[in-house]
């Protein structure tokens, strides 16, 4: 945080260590080729790519839901076909993996919010837990309510 501010100030003053001084002739770019698998080998990078790939699980879950809604609209026979297909080992395995990625998305998303929003109260920045905490609570509450609605109606 402080070092980033210091770097920003340094580059604004023109004393940055990375930006070259102005030359009339453009320097040749030095851009070494980075491996496609640059993110393998260091856990924070792997975690970053896994977090980004959680979007595939998001799309999958929506597709699953659309398929369910379509079956629901087609009548009772079609819906029982849907539940039978959803009970196949492959579908259960896919959904368990997708659920893991959805949890990764939710947790990283709520924890990211305090970093994206700097809420200040009387000049002081609110602690991260006061921003992410209510979102986790809302998540638990909504999940419990949805679960309750389905449980009550069985």
């Amino acid at each position: 945080m402080d070092s980033a501010a210091a770097r920003a100030r340094a580059s604004a003053d023109g004393h940055s260590s990375t930006a070259p001084a102005y030359t009339e002739f453009h320097p040749r770019w030095y851009r070494p080729r980075i491996s496609t698998y640059w993110w393998l080998g260091r856990w924070p990078y792997v975690k970053f790519i896994l977090r980004e790939l959680s979007s595939v699980a998001v799309a999958w879950t929506v597709a699953f839901t659309l398929f369910q809604l379509w079956s629901l609209s087609q009548g009772e026979v079609a819906y029982s076909t849907f539940t039978r297909r959803a009970s196949s080992p492959i579908m259960i395995a896919l959904n368990v993996i997708a659920f893991g990625f959805l949890l990764l998305h939710s947790i990283t998303w709520f924890n990211l919010a305090p970093k994206a929003m700097a809420v200040r109260v009387s000049g002081k920045r609110l602690p991260a837990i006061l921003i992410s905490g209510p979102q986790f609570l809302a998540w638990f509450a909504i999940s419990a309510i949805v679960l309750w609605i389905y449980m009550v109606r069985t």
């Binding site: 980004e52 998001v58 929506v62 369910q68 809604l69 959904n95 997708a98 939710s106 949805v146 109606r153």
Partner: protein, 117 residues
């Protein structure tokens, strides 16, 4: 030099809104219908009850938001995963069209299904 006007804020807002919706609503839905019911942890709602539930106006709106916005979240995030992570930069236009094409098609499908259900 004149700054180029960008549509990025629109896509980023959809990404952000979709991220919130996906984080709050999707896990419990997949947990119930993808895991808990197929594995017999809980009994699934009977067909007629589930249908009458999905036909409530508030439920239609809920399901539409739950399906549409997360797809735009996916479109943005997956596009940049391919771009930065896997360095598929030469197919940028194709990737962009595919990702947002999926999001628009999914939104239309959700609207159509929920209208007719």
């Amino acid at each position: 030099m004149e700054a180029k006007k960008s549509h990025e804020p629109i896509f980023w807002t959809l990404f952000s809104a979709g991220g919130v919706v996906a984080a709050l609503l999707l896990p419990v839905h997949l947990f119930i219908f993808g895991m808990a019911v197929p594995l017999h942890w809980i009994h699934g709602p009977a067909y007629n009850l589930l249908l009458s539930l999905a036909q409530m106006p508030i439920a239609r709106l809920y399901l539409f938001v739950m399906c549409s916005l997360p797809l735009f979240h996916f479109a943005h995030r997956f596009r940049y995963t391919l771009y930065d992570g896997l360095q598929i930069k030469h197919l940028n236009e194709v990737v962009f069209a595919s990702c947002y094409g999926i999001a628009v098609l999914g939104t239309v499908a959700a609207g159509w299904l929920l209208w007719r259900i």
